[in-house]
Amino acid sequence: MTKDNRSRGTNSDAPSTDLRTERDEVLRKFSRGTQLTEDFVREHERMQGRLQDLESENATLRAKVEADQAVRELLKKIERLESEKSELVSQARQAEAATTEFTARVQEVESEFANLANLFVASNQLHSSLSPRGVTRRIKEVLAQLVGAERYAMYLVNPEGEQLIPIASEGVPGNELVPVRIAGTRIGEVLRKGSASVADSDPSQGTLKDPPAVIPLSVDDRVVGTIAIFSTLAQKNKFDQVDFELFKLLGQHAAQALVAASLFAQAEQKLPGLEAFLDLSV
């Protein structure tokens, strides 16, 4: 390169002031653009991060809401099941109460049936014999087997109406088995009043002087004798309702069966002729 060229070149290469200013301006603007771009990129990245955070948060919240919903549904289900359980428990209690009542009723009916069976058997047995000895044996059997009497005696009033004469007994020593005055004795008092006398105390502890039960014996509304129970078997420590029914039955049927058997024996076991029944007017 020549000196001229160098000088020219130097001169020609050197930008003019305007151009330099313009260049600087462009460079400044470019630099500014770059800065802005970088800022924008950073902001974009920040926004991306924020968006991810928000999406994550959103997902978490959605999951939480869904979980809450599930819990609410479960709670509703539990509430419904609790209600159903309460209803079932109530129904079960009602059924249990009904069953208990039914069982009690069945036991009551069975007990009633047993009592009726006792009464039927006693009545049936009293009238199943037409011999005085047979009837007496059956009366004793009713007392021993159905009532559970251990010591007892049956008395009939004498023709003078002053004394009760023992006609049958069980467990009473011979020397103790004596006629009883009607006046001033408990056994005689029952004959006079015509109503049974039953003590509240334990009948198994009864004595000959203080019998726990005395029953009047009637024939056609006339009191003709008594049965005195002096003591019962050890396990029979109280009289039950069925015993009182048996006392009533014995009172009304024992003497009648005995009288009928005696009359039949006196008639030498002859049945009355048909004519005896023709004038009954029924």
Binding site: Q107, N118, Q125, Q145, L233
Partner: protein, 125 residues
């Protein structure tokens, strides 16, 4: 449903009648009556029974002898036996249980107790 047969051995007609009434409450139970131990053995020889209910005090052959004989009978050696006793006769009761009786009922008998004892021995609900 299974059918069961019961032999009642009792000399008292009243007690027999009462036992028959009581056991009529047990479903599918056929009841046969015998007057005493000898009559009971005769009936046991002619038929098979699932349970025997017998009184202790009987004429001709008492309940203890009957229990002893039943336990040597190949057909009825395992048949349940219920004895009926009075409270005072504990010795008889012990003897009967030693001879092979399975249960006892004391007099005066209560129908529900008779029913429960027979049902238990026959394993009926």
């Amino acid at each position: 449903m299974a059918e069961y047969s019961c032999l009642i051995v009792e000399d008292s007609p009243m007690m027999r009648q009462l036992l028959v009434f009581a056991l009529a409450r047990v479903k599918n139970l056929r009841v046969t009556e015998a007057d005493d131990g000898v009559d009971g053995l005769r009936k046991l020889a002619s038929a098979r029974y699932d349970i025997i209910v017998t009184d202790i005090n009987m004429p001709i052959m008492d309940g203890l002898k009957l229990v002893k004989r039943v336990r040597t009978d190949p057909v009825h050696k395992d048949t349940p036996i219920v004895i009926i006793t009075t409270e005072g006769s504990q010795e008889d009761r012990q003897r009967a249980l030693q001879l092979g009786a399975n249960a006892y009922i004391t007099k005066p008998i209560q129908a529900p107790q008779v029913i429960a004892t027979v049902k238990e021995l026959l394993k009926i609900e």
